[in-house]
């Protein structure tokens, strides 16, 4: 059984393990550590927290006076800690990438007699542009930044390798498709 991919609930639970926090703090901590690309909306935080409350994984530790919903302070329960442990122990399902848009584009280009090599070159340039950007960010960021950027870089590099390999095999591919 695989876990269901990136889970905001488990992530927020995990952040609570170090101690009770306000909803506002939770959002800031999440954004800082994981949300470089997509910061959380407050709405996402409240809906997630109310679901966790309902499931008994967190409890409301206290409410500051005169505050809105963001002034609720949450604490993790025993069940919540167990749930986080379970989630971490469950392996992530490797992404098979079998349905690749790029592959589709290449085949289509070949089928329609357009230049597949150009598509690949354009894609490579785009990949490298992104990789350069990530590398720059890595250069200026802290260790966490570096780890996140490297993750992306390795994936992009894998894509690029596939591009190289495909480029080298375009002629064979064209022949096979036209058959």
């Amino acid at each position: 059984m695989y876990s269901g991919g990136m889970s905001i609930g488990h992530t927020l639970l995990g952040l609570l393990e170090s101690g009770p926090r306000h909803g506002y703090d939770l959002k800031r901590a999440f954004d800082e550590k994981f949300g470089q690309d997509r910061p959380l909306h407050y709405g996402q935080v409240y809906s997630t927290m109310s679901r966790l409350l309902k499931n008994g994984l967190v409890v409301v530790d206290g409410i500051e006076a005169g505050g809105g919903p963001e002034r609720k302070r949450y604490a993790i329960t025993e069940a919540g800690i167990t749930d986080v442990a379970q989630w971490l122990a469950t392996p992530e399902k490797p992404e098979p990438y079998l349905q690749s848009t790029l592959y589709t584009k290449v085949v289509l280009a070949l089928l329609t007699g357009r230049g597949a090599a150009e598509i690949l070159d354009t894609q490579r340039a785009e990949h490298l542009r992104l990789m350069r950007e990530l590398t720059r960010r890595k250069r200026d960021g802290d260790l966490a930044d570096q780890l996140i950027c490297d993750h992306a870089l390795f994936h992009l590099e894998a894509d690029l390798r596939w591009l190289e390999l495909t480029a080298a095999r375009l002629d064979a591919l064209a022949e096979e498709i036209r058959r």
């Binding site: 340039a125 250069r139 992009l156």
Partner: protein, 227 residues
């Protein structure tokens, strides 16, 4: 992108025996930029670098460096240019095994006629900058590959060259050490304003550059300059 290139090559041909390594390759490098030269193995990447650096004379084509026609220079003049204006980092086997790191790094300066003491003092500064001052008095055989490559980078930079030619500088290193070498190399070149020609087949390494060109079958696809 209006500035005139520091180093420009047009229509380079070079063959080793019957096999052509370069066929009509064009290339341009502006002062201070880092350009990655990519391509599958056997595509002529290294040959391009050797031609650009004046190590190998191309069979046809012209190379202009800083207003000078490189292909017209004598062997001696090209050697002297390489001593003063260029720096080199290779994949491996470039450090003299008998010399200590300081002596290795001081070597290009001494070839330029600098006194030993002064040369070694400057070499020591560069070793510190590349975080290998701890092994300054060790020989290449007594240190790790990553340290060795950083010493090699220090040697390439010590003469304050205007162009550094790096041929697979991380080829023999693991990711982490490769990372460190690339960071130090590009940081140092940015600080000193040296341009870098970086031959690599790894995209992650090429990502440290400002732009890349691809060599395929001996010709260069350079998105920016091809037109």
């Amino acid at each position: 992108m209006s500035s005139t290139p520091l180093l420009r090559a047009t229509g380079l041909d070079k063959a080793y025996g019957p096999t052509p390594a370069l066929a009509g390759a064009d290339f341009a490098l502006r002062a201070g930029e880092v350009v990655a030269v990519m391509g599958p193995s056997g595509s002529g990447k290294s040959t391009l670098l050797h031609c650009l650096a004046g190590i190998v004379r191309p069979d046809a084509g012209t190379i202009t460096y800083d207003g000078r026609e490189l292909t017209a220079l004598s062997d001696g003049a090209r050697s002297s240019l390489r001593r003063t204006d260029f720096g080199f980092v290779f994949q491996f086997g470039q450090l003299v095994p008998e010399l200590t790191c300081v002596e290795n790094v001081a070597l290009p300066l001494r070839l330029n006629g600098e006194k030993r003491k002064a040369a070694e003092a400057r070499a020591a500064e560069w070793l510190a900058r590349l975080e290998v001052d701890a092994v300054a008095d060790k020989r290449p055989g007594e240190m790790s590959g990553g340290q060795g490559q950083r010493v090699a980078v220090a040697r390439a930079l010590v003469t304050a060259p205007r162009v550094i030619f790096a041929d697979e500088p991380t080829g023999a290193l693991d990711s982490l050490n490769g990372e460190r070498v690339m960071r130090l190399l590009t940081d140092a070149s940015r600080d000193t304003g040296a341009a870098v020609v970086l031959v690599t087949h790894e995209a992650r390494v090429a990502a440290w550059s400002d732009r890349e060109v691809v060599v395929r079958d001996g010709s260069v696809r350079d998105a920016e300059w091809a037109a």
